[in-house]
Symmetry: C2
Subunit: 644 residues, 2 copies
C-alpha cells in the first residue's frame, strides 16, 4: 500500500547534509531575506509617530519632522555600527555572540532574551501590519484580521520548514516590488506637485481633537514617545550581522554592502513617506471616534491614504502598492524565521536551551525553532486581537537592549585588538575608527533604550520587562540542570561497568497468546537467576481460565496471579515489582512487557494503554529495567514506515 | 516535598471497589438523577412548537393544541412501554441490550449509535437551554452564552468524575425545586384567572408575521414539524430502564414506579405550560425582527414570559423560576453523564469500542467515557454557537430510532417467553398484555420517527443521519480489528514458548558516563551471544574523544562509531540495527537504551528525545526488543511520585 506522507508533500523530500553549502546566498537574495523587516517597517513607522502625536491634536503634528529626523540619524549611526560587526565576525556576529565574547555570559543571555522576545514580536507585528494593508484595500476583511494573520504565519512556517534557499526566491519579488512601487509613488507625487496639483489625504479634513492638552515638558515627553514608536523603523538591522555565514564569499564585505544598501533604501523610503504624510495632512487616530467618525468605521493605514491620494485615478497602482506592502510585511516576519531558530540552536549548543533546538531537521533547517517561533507569534496575535498599535508597545525594547549590548561588546572587541601586540601598526588607525563608530552607536542606542523604556513602560512594555528576565532565568535554569546532570553522571577515569550480582525477570501476561509466548521465550534466553510470569485477574473464574491456559502451554515458568476486581493493572503490578525489588535490593530486576504492534497509527490507541502507563511508572523505580518485546501483527509487517 | 495533587482536590480520594454497593439509589434520589432530562425538557418543548407554528403566523398558533395533545398521548404510550422493560430487564434494559438480545447485533449497534449521538445532544441542548433561562433573567449575559455553556459542562464533568452517589444529592434540589415552582405557578395562575384577571404575555401584542402562507397539505406538514420539535419532551425516558441496576431492591418495581412518577410530572407540567402559553398568547420567533423588534433585541424564553406574566409583581418568584429552570436543565445533562459512559463501557466489553472505555476509574465511575462525552458536547455547543433551535434540529432522531428498536425488541422478547414451554399458564395473560403495550409503543414511535425524519431532515437533521452510520461503521471496524488481532495472536493448544537460537545485544552510547556504564553492565548480565556498543559522532575529533574515553573505562566491549555530520541519531542507528537483523535473521536482537530519569516532569523534555524517537521506530522492526535501562538522577531518587 502506497502511503501519502503529508509532511513530505508540505515540506519536500529530505535534503542531504552535503547540500548545506549550496544554500549560501548571493547579495540579491540576501537583501530580501535579511532586510524585509527593516525595509517593510517604513510601512508603519510614520503612522506610529502620527498616532502618538495625534493625542496632542493638530497643533503638535509638526513635531513629526523632528521625530523623523532623529530616527533617520539613528539609522545612519546603527547601520554604520553594525557594518563593523560584519567585518569583525565573519562567522556571524549576533548580539549573543558579540556579548558573550566581550561582555560575559550574563550580558549574552540578556541579549539573547531580548532577541528571542523581539523575533516573536517581529513576526506578530509584521504579519498584523501586512493584514492591515490588505484590509485597507478590502475593508470587508477587517473582521477576519486575527484569522488571516494566523493563516499567514502558518504559510511562513511551511515555507521555512522547506528550507532557506527556496525562501529567498519567494521573498525577492515582494521586497523589490515594494521598493519599486514606493519610489514610483514618490515620482508620481513629485510630478503632480511640480505640475501645480494640491494633493490632500482623504483624512485631511477630519478633525483631530487633542485627547488632553499638552504644554511644556509634556510636549517634549509626547515627542519622545512618538520618536520611540517610530524607532520600529530600526528593527531587524542586526539580522545581517547575524547572518554573515549565509552570504557568498567574501562574506563580510558582501554582508556590509548589503547592510549599506538596506540603510539607503530604508532611510529614503521612510523620509519620503513621512514627507508625503505631512504634505497631504494625513490624520490618523487609534479610535475612529477621535476623528469624528462613527465607532467601528473602517479606516485606512497612513501609507494606504498616501497611496490613494498620490495615485488618484490610477486605482491599479494603489492596489499594487497595497499588495506589495502586504507582501513585504508578511515576508518581513521571515527575518525572524531565519534569526530565531539559529539563535535558539546556538543557545542549545551552549546548553542554555533544550537540546531539541540544536539539530537541523531533514530539510537542513532548525525545524523545532521554526515551530516554536510560529506558536509564540500566533499566541501573541490572538491575545492582542491583531491590534497593531498595542503590539507595537511591546516592540523595540528588546531591539535596543540587544543593540546597546552588541555595540558595547564591539567597543570592547576593538579595544582588545588594540591591546594585542600582534595587531599590525597599519591596521591600528582603522581599528580606532571602527571603535569610535561602535562607541557612538552604543551611546546612542543606550540613550534611545532609556527613552523607549520610560515612554512605553506603562503603555504595555512592562510585559516585555517581565518576560525578558523570565527567559533569562529560564535559560540559566536549563543550563544549571544540564550541568548538574553532567556532574551526576560523570564517572572517574578507569571505572569499569559493573555487572549486577543477580538478575530477576518478571514477564507481564495479559492473556496466553503468541505475544506472551514470544516474550517468555525471550525472557528465558536472558538466562536470569529467577523468572516469574505475572498476571492480573478480576475474579476467580478468570484466574481459573488463565491457570488452565497456562498449564496447556506448559511454559516451564510459574504464573503468579494478582487479584484486581476492576482490572486495575498498573497499581498491583507496581506493588509486586516494589516487593521483589525490596526482597533483593542488590539484584537487577527486569520487567518484560509483550507489546502488540499494529499497522496503523490510529489502531495504536486500541492497544497497550496499560503497558504505556506501566512503563511511565516503572521508569521511576530504581534498579528496574523495562524490556519491550514487540509482537508485529500481520498488518504491521509491511508497514514499518508507519512510525515515521 | 509534599506535592498538591490537582486531580485529588477536584475529584476526591480514590474509592475502594468494595464501596460500589453503597452507591445504589433510593427512588427519591433516582428520580432527579434519571429524570431531570425528560422533566426539564418541558421548559423548552412548548416553545419549540410555538417557534415552528409561528412560521405560519398567528392564524396557525391554535394548532399548538393538537401537537401538544399528540405529545401527551405519545408520552403515556412510551412510559407504559418502558415500564415493561424495567420488569423484563432487571439488569438494565437499554436499547442496546434489548436490541442485541432480541434483534441481533446490527440492530443493537444501530441503537447504540443513536444513543451515543443523543447523549451528546442531551448535554448540549440541556445546557444551552439552561443558559437561555439564565439570560432570560439577566439579558446582559446573552453575549457569553457559549462560554457559560462550556463552563457548566465542565462543572458537570467534575461532578461526575467524583461519582454517582454524590451527584444524586446535588441534583435533588433543583429537580424537585423545578417541579414545585412550576406547580406553584399553575396555582397562582389559576387563582388569578379565577379572580377575573386577564393575564397576557409581554409578547402578546407583538405582531407575528407569517414567513410564507401555508394552505392545505402545507398546514398539515407544518403541524407535523411542530409536533416533531415538541417531541423533545420525550427524550430521556429510556434512562430509567437503562439504569435499573442502580436502584435499590426491588429494583424493577422501584424503577417502574419512578418511571410512572416521571410520566405524571412530565405530562402535567407540559400540558400546563402549553395551556398557559396559549392563554397568555405568548409570541416567539427565531429572529426578533419577525416580531417587529430591532435585530439583536434580547428576548425571553416562552417559559420565562409565562413566569413573568403569572408572578407579576412577585419578582422573586420569577427569579426563583428561572433559577430552578436553569438548574434542572443544566443538571438534565447529567442523565447523559450517567448513560453515555455506561453504554460506552458495555460497547467496550463487547469489543465495539476501545478498551479504555471499559474500566472504571478510581472513583468507581467510567472516567474516560465522562471525558469523551464532555468533549463532544462542548464541541457541538461551540460549533452551533449555543443556538438552541439549531441544536434541537439534530435532536430526537436518535431518540426515536432507539425507542423503536427497543420496543420492537421487547415485542420479540415477550413472543419468546410465550413460545417457551416453561412459562406458567397464569403468567401468559400478563405477557400478552405486556407484548400488546410494547407493540403499540413500537408502532407509535416508528411512525413518529418517520415524521421526525421527514420534517427535520433538511433543517439540519441530515447531520445526524450521516453521523449515526459513521459511528455504526466505526464500531464495526473496532470490533473487526480486535477480532483480527485475537485471531492473529491465538496459538494452538500445547505450543510452548520458543527460545531464540541466538541473542545479540546492541548498547547505544551517547557519551561515556554512569548511565552508559550501568547499561553496559546490565547488558553483560544478559549473557548475549554478541555484545556491541554503538555511538554516533559528528566528526573525527568527536570520534577520537569517544574512543579515548572508551579505552579509559575498558568495558571489554567493542565500540562501533557511526558518522553523522549533523548528529542525526535515529536514521544511522536504525540502518545499523537493520543490517544486524539481516545478518542473523534467526536471532533475537536487543537494543539497550540508557535513559536518564529526572525528578520533575518538566525536566523530561530536556532529555531522551532521541531515545524516544528511536524506540517508536524500533517497535516496528521485527525481531528487535528494546531494553530501557533507566538511570535515576539524584533529584529523581526521592521523586518517584512524579510519574503519577
Amino acid at each position: 500500500m502506497r502511503r501519502i506522507n503529508v509532511k513530505r508533500v508540505l515540506v519536500g523530500e529530505p535534503l542531504d547534509t552535503a547540500r548545506l553549502g549550496e544554500t549560501l546566498l548571493p547579495k540579491r537574495l540576501a537583501l530580501p531575506i535579511f532586510c524585509s523587516d527593516p525595509l517593510s517597517s517604513v510601512a508603519y513607522a510614520t503612522e506610529e509617530i502620527l498616532l502618538i502625536l495625534a493625542l496632542g491634536g493638530v497643533a503638535l503634528l509638526h513635531l513629526t519632522w523632528y521625530a523623523a529626523a532623529a530616527i533617520v540619524f539613528l539609522l545612519v549611526v546603527v547601520v554604520a555600527s553594525y557594518r563593523q560587526t560584519c567585518y569583525a565576525y565573519p562567522g556571524g556576529g549576533g548580539a549573543y555572540i558579540v556579548s558573550s565574547e566581550n561582555l560575559g555570559q550574563n550580558a549574552a543571555l540578556t541579549a539573547a532574551s531580548a532577541l528571542l522576545v523581539d523575533y516573536v514580536l517581529t513576526v506578530a507585528v509584521s504579519v498584523v501590519s501586512g493584514v492591515a494593508a490588505i484590509t485597507s484595500a478590502i475593508p470587508a476583511l477587517e473582521d477576519h484580521a486575527v484569522g488571516l494573520s494566523a493563516a499567514f504565519v502558518a504559510v511562513l512556517t511551511l515555507m521555512n520548514l522547506r528550507g532557506v534557499r527556496e525562501s529567498g526566491r519567494v521573498f525577492a519579488l515582494p521586497t523589490y516590488g515594494f521598493i519599486l512601487v514606493i519610489y514610483l509613488m514618490f515620482a508620481v507625487a513629485a510630478v503632480r506637485i511640480a505640475g501645480g496639483a494640491t494633493i490632500r489625504a482623504e483624512s485631511a479634513d477630519l478633525p483631530l481633537h487633542a485627547v488632553s492638552s499638552y504644554t511644556g515638558f509634556a510636549v517634549v515627553l509626547l515627542a519622545m514617545r512618538a520618536f520611540a514608536s517610530g524607532c520600529t523603523a530600526l528593527t531587524g538591522v542586526e539580522a545581517i550581522s547575524n547572518g554573515v555565514p549565509a552570504f557568498r564569499r567574501p562574506k563580510s564585505r558582501n554582508a556590509a554592502t548589503t547592510l549599506a544598501m538596506m540603510g539607503f533604501f530604508s532611510i529614503t523610503m521612510f523620509a519620503g513617506i513621512t514627507t508625503l504624510a505631512m504634505v497631504y495632512q494625513v490624520h490618523v487616530a487609534e479610535d475612529p471616534t477621535e476623528l469624528g467618525l462613527a465607532p467601528g468605521t473602517p479606516t485606512s493605514t497612513a501609507l494606504a491614504q498616501i497611496g490613494r491620494a498620490t495615485f488618484g485615478d490610477l486605482h491599479f497602482l494603489f492596489y499594487l502598492l497595497q499588495a506589495v506592502t502586504a507582501g513585504v510585511l508578511i515576508l518581513a516576519a521571515n527575518t525572524a524565521f531565519n534569526g530565531f531558530p539559529t539563535l535558539a540552536s546556538i543557545l542549545a549548543r551552549d546548553r542554555y536551551a533544550p537540546r531539541q533546538l540544536y539539530n537541523r531537521g531533514d530539510r537542513l533547517v532548525y525545524s523545532n525553532g521554526v515551530l516554536l517561533l510560529a506558536l509564540a507569534a500566533v499566541a501573541l496575535i490572538v491575545a492582542f486581537d491583531a491590534e497593531l498599535t498595542r503590539l507595537i508597545q511591546l516592540y523595540i525594547i528588546g531591539v535596543f537592549v540587544s543593540f546597546t549590548l552588541s555595540q558595547s561588546g564591539m567597543v570592547r572587541h576593538w579595544g582588545r585588538e588594540l591591546a594585542s601586540p600582534g595587531t599590525p601598526r597599519g591596521e591600528r588607525v582603522h581599528i580606532h575608527r571602527r571603535r569610535a563608530i561602535n562607541a557612538v552607536g552604543a551611546a546612542m542606542t543606550a540613550v534611545v533604550l532609556v527613552v523607549v523604556l520610560v515612554t512605553k513602560f506603562t503603555h504595555g512594555a512592562w510585559l516585555v520587562v517581565i518576560a525578558m528576565p523570565l527567559l533569562f532565568l529560564g535559560m540559566k535554569g536549563v543550563r544549571r540542570h544540564y550541568d548538574t546532570v553532567a556532574q551526576q553522571v560523570a564517572v572517574p577515569s578507569g571505572v569499569r561497568p559493573r555487572k549486577p550480582v543477580r538478575h530477576h525477570v518478571l514477564v507481564l501476561v495479559a492473556a496466553v497468546h503468541a505475544p506472551t509466548l514470544k516474550a517468555l521465550g525471550f525472557a528465558q534466553a536472558l538466562r536470569p537467576d529467577s523468572l516469574t510470569a505475572l498476571t492480573v485477574a478480576a475474579d476467580e473464574e478468570e484466574a481459573h481460565r488463565l491457570r488452565q491456559a497456562w498449564a496447556d502451554h506448559d511454559p516451564g515458568v510459574s504464573l503468579r496471579i494478582l487479584h484486581s476486581p476492576y482490572r486495575e493493572v498498573v497499581a498491583p503490578v507496581l506493588a509486586q515489582v516494589d516487593e521483589l525489588a525490596e526482597e533483593d535490593p542488590e539484584a537487577m530486576l527486569s520487567v518484560v512487557i509483550p507489546e502488540y504492534v499494529v499497522g496503523h497509527w490510529w489502531e495504536q490507541p486500541l492497544h497497550n494503554q496499560n503497558a504505556l502507563r506501566l512503563k511511565a511508572r516503572l521508569l521511576f523505580t530504581p534498579g528496574v529495567a523495562v524490556i519491550d518485546v514487540p509482537y508485529l501483527l500481520e498488518s504491521a509487517r509491511d508497514g514499518s514506515a508507519a512510525g515515521s
